[in-house]
Symmetry: C2
C-alpha cells in the first residue's frame, strides 16, 4: 500500500488528470503531472508539474524518479515513453492494456478472444480492402482510423452516397477498421475497477447519449432490466480479469433491439461516462482509480442517488454556475472552442431504483 | 457576478481553505491563499500562495490586489488587517459579522437582540465578578475566554470542586464569559447561506456529537421532529438576515429536554459540522460559500442521501483509506498530533427521510 504523502505521477494534464489529482489529494497523496501544454487543466491542482514532450525521454525519466507510482489519463502515449518510464517506476494500468486499447483492430480481436460479441468488422489498409469488405459489412457502416480517434474524430460514415475519393482520403490517415453500423436501442457504459489483489468492483451501468460523436449525457439508473445490467457488468469483469488489470476501466457497450449486449470499445482510464459517480457514490471513479493503483481496498461502488451528467461543450451562453440543483465541475479551460469539453454538470435526485 | 477565471482570495490556509479552494476550482475560479504557515493544507491546491503574517499589512495589501473578492476560513483575523484589505477588495462575509463572532459576549448580546434564547451568562473580568455571578448562574457552569477559543480550548468547567486559584489563572487569559451549563438533549447545527441579493438557503440541520470539546460526528437526518428542524433553520435565518450576511454561516444550537432550541454560537464561515454536504448534496457548503461570495444563485440545499461525518482526529492506527463505503477527505497534514483534525470520513446511505 502506498504510504500517505507519497507522490502519484500522471501522464497527461487534461480534465481527467485534474479530477484524479483532486481525488489523490483527498486520499492524502501528492501528484506530479506531466504534459506538453503549459495551460493543462490539471497543473492548477497538482503538487508538482513538468511541462514536456512525450518524446523527451530524458525529462520523462527525471519525472518518473519523483513518483512512487505512475498512471495516465489518455491513451495516445508513445510506447517508447512507457518503456523508458517502466524501468524506473510501476505504471498502472499496465502497458499491455493500453496497447490493446490504442488499436481498434487489436481491441476487437481481444474482445473476440474472450467470446464477447462485437459488431462485424474488417481491417482496411487500401481501397481494394475496402471494396472487398464492404460487400460483407454492407452499408451503412463506419470507417474508423485504427489509432488516435476519439470523440468521433477519424470516423467516416459509409452510405450509398460515399465517394471513392472520400474513402481514399480517409485511408491517408493510416490503417482503418470498417465496422458495421449497428442500429442499437441504447448506448451503455460500465465503469469497472480492479486492484492488484484481484478485487473487482463495478459501478452501475450508465446510459449514454452521444451528439455528433461526443458524449452528451450519462444517466443512472439506466432504463434497462437488472439482467441486462448484470450482463454488461459481466462483460466488463471478463475484460479486467483477463488483463489482470489494475485501475479503472471504461467499457462502452451497445444494447440491441433484441436485447443483446455488444461490446464497442474500452478505455484504460477513468471515463467521461463515469463522472456521475462524483455525485452518486461515496467513492467516485477518480478515488476508485487512486485506490486501485495505490493498493487499497476498492470502494464498494454502491450508488446512493440518481444522477444525470451533462457535458458542457464549447462556448455556451447558458450560465451553468447559476443552476441551483446540480453540481458543476469546470475544468478551468480559457478557450471555449466548439465541441470542446469545458466542464460537466451532475443533476442529482434521490435514488429510485 | 464574478467572471470565470477570476481570483478568490482566502485568508487562512487550513483544511477549510483547502476545501474552499477545491470548490472554487470546480466553479472555474482561481484562488490565492494567505497564511503564515508554509505547510498550510490549502497551499497544495491553491493557484497562488502567499506565506506571510496577518500583521504584515504591506504584504496583505499586495495579496489583496491580486484578488477579485476575498474571504476567510477562520475567525481570529486582526481587525486592522481586515480594514487595510477592505480598502482594496470586497471582503465576504462582511467584517461586522466576523467582529460579533470573535467575542462571546458580543455574540450573546447579538442573539439576545434578535430575541433568540441563549443560556444564562455573565461577563467576568475579575474574581469579584465571578463570585457575584456564580450565585446567579450556579454550578455546573463554564468559564470561557471571550476570544480565540475553539475546539474546547479556553474553557474551564466550574463545579463545587473548582478552586479560586483555577478561576484566577483562567482569567489571566483575558475577559471571560460565565455560561450556565445546559443539560441538553441534543447538539445541532445549521449551515445556512445568504447571497447579496438576499436569497437565503439552509441545509438540513445536522446532529452533532462532541468528544473532549471537539466535534466527533455529524449525522443527517437529525433525529428530531420536522417542527424542531424548521425552528432551528428559522433561528439561523434570523441571524443571516439581520446581518445582511454574505456567505455560509454555521450556527450551533442545543435542543433541551423540553424541546426548546437554544442558540449556542455562530461561525462566519464554512463549518466542520457541514462537511456531510460534500456527499449528501449536489452543491456542498464549500461551493455554496463560493456561490454566495461570487454573486451566484445559491444551491437549493436539498439533501439526496443520509450521511454520517466522522472526524479523523490525531494519530490513528485505523487505515481510513481502506474503508469501502465512505468518502475519505484527508487534509494533507504531515504531523498527527493528538486531537488534530487530520481528515474526515463521510458514510453515505440512501435517503430515508
Amino acid at each position: 500500500m502506498l504510504k500517505a504523502g507519497s507522490t502519484i505521477g500522471i501522464l497527461g494534464g487534461g480534465q481527467l488528470a485534474r479530477m484524479l489529482a483532486g481525488a489523490a489529494l483527498k486520499m492524502g497523496y501528492h501528484t506530479h503531472v506531466y504534459d506538453p501544454n503549459p495551460k493543462s487543466p490539471a497543473f492548477e491542482i497538482s503538487s508538482l508539474k513538468t511541462i514536456g514532450s512525450f518524446e523527451d525521454h530524458g525529462l520523462l525519466k527525471k519525472f518518473a524518479k519523483t513518483c512512487d507510482v505512475l498512471t495516465y489519463e489518455f491513451e495516445n502515449i508513445p510506447h517508447k515513453a512507457l518503456e523508458e518510464i517502466e524501468q524506473i517506476v510501476q505504471i498502472f494500468p499496465r502497458k499491455t492494456s493500453l496497447y490493446i486499447s490504442q488499436d481498434r483492430i487489436k481491441e476487437k480481436q481481444f474482445f473476440k478472444s474472450l467470446n464477447l460479441e462485437t459488431v462485424e468488422y474488417a481491417t482496411i489498409c487500401s481501397f481494394e480492402d475496402f471494396s472487398k469488405s464492404i460487400k460483407q459489412i454492407k452499408i451503412p457502416s463506419i470507417l474508423k482510423t485504427c489509432r488516435e480517434g476519439y470523440d468521433g474524430k477519424g470516423q467516416l460514415l459509409i452510405t450509398n452516397k460515399t465517394k471513392k475519393k472520400d474513402v481514399e482520403e480517409h485511408l491517408l490517415q493510416g490503417p482503418c477498421i470498417l465496422e458495421s453500423f449497428l442500429k442499437f436501442e441504447k448506448e451503455l457504459s460500465v465503469i469497472i475497477a480492479r486492484n492488484d489483489n484481484g478485487d473487482v468492483v463495478s459501478f452501475d451501468p450508465g446510459e449514454n447519449v452521444h451528439k455528433s460523436g461526443i458524449l452528451y449525457s450519462t444517466t443512472v439508473p439506466s432504463q434497462i432490466s437488472k439482467t441486462l445490467q448484470i450482463d454488461s457488468i459481466i462483460i466488463a469483469g471478463k475484460i479486467v480479469n483477463s488483463l489482470k488489470y489494475v485501475g479503472v476501466l471504461g467499457v462502452e457497450l451497445f444494447l440491441t433491439h433484441d436485447d443483446r449486449v455488444v461490446v464497442n470499445e474500452m478505455a484504460p482510464r477513468v471515463h467521461n461516462s463515469g463522472h456521475w459517480t462524483q455525485n452518486g457514490c461515496a467513492i467516485d471513479q477518480f478515488e476508485q482509480h487512486i485506490r486501485a493503483i495505490s493498493g487499497h481496498a476498492l470502494g464498494d461502488g454502491e450508488r446512493y442517488s440518481d444522477v444525470t451528467m451533462i457535458n458542457i461543450l464549447g462556448d455556451t451562453t447558458k450560465n451553468f454556475r447559476n443552476i441551483t440543483n446540480a453540481a458543476v465541475h469546470f475544468y478551468g479551460k480559457d478557450e471555449a472552442r466548439p465541441g470542446r469539453k469545458m466542464g460537466h454538470v451532475n443533476y442529482v435526485s434521490p435514488k429510485t431504483s
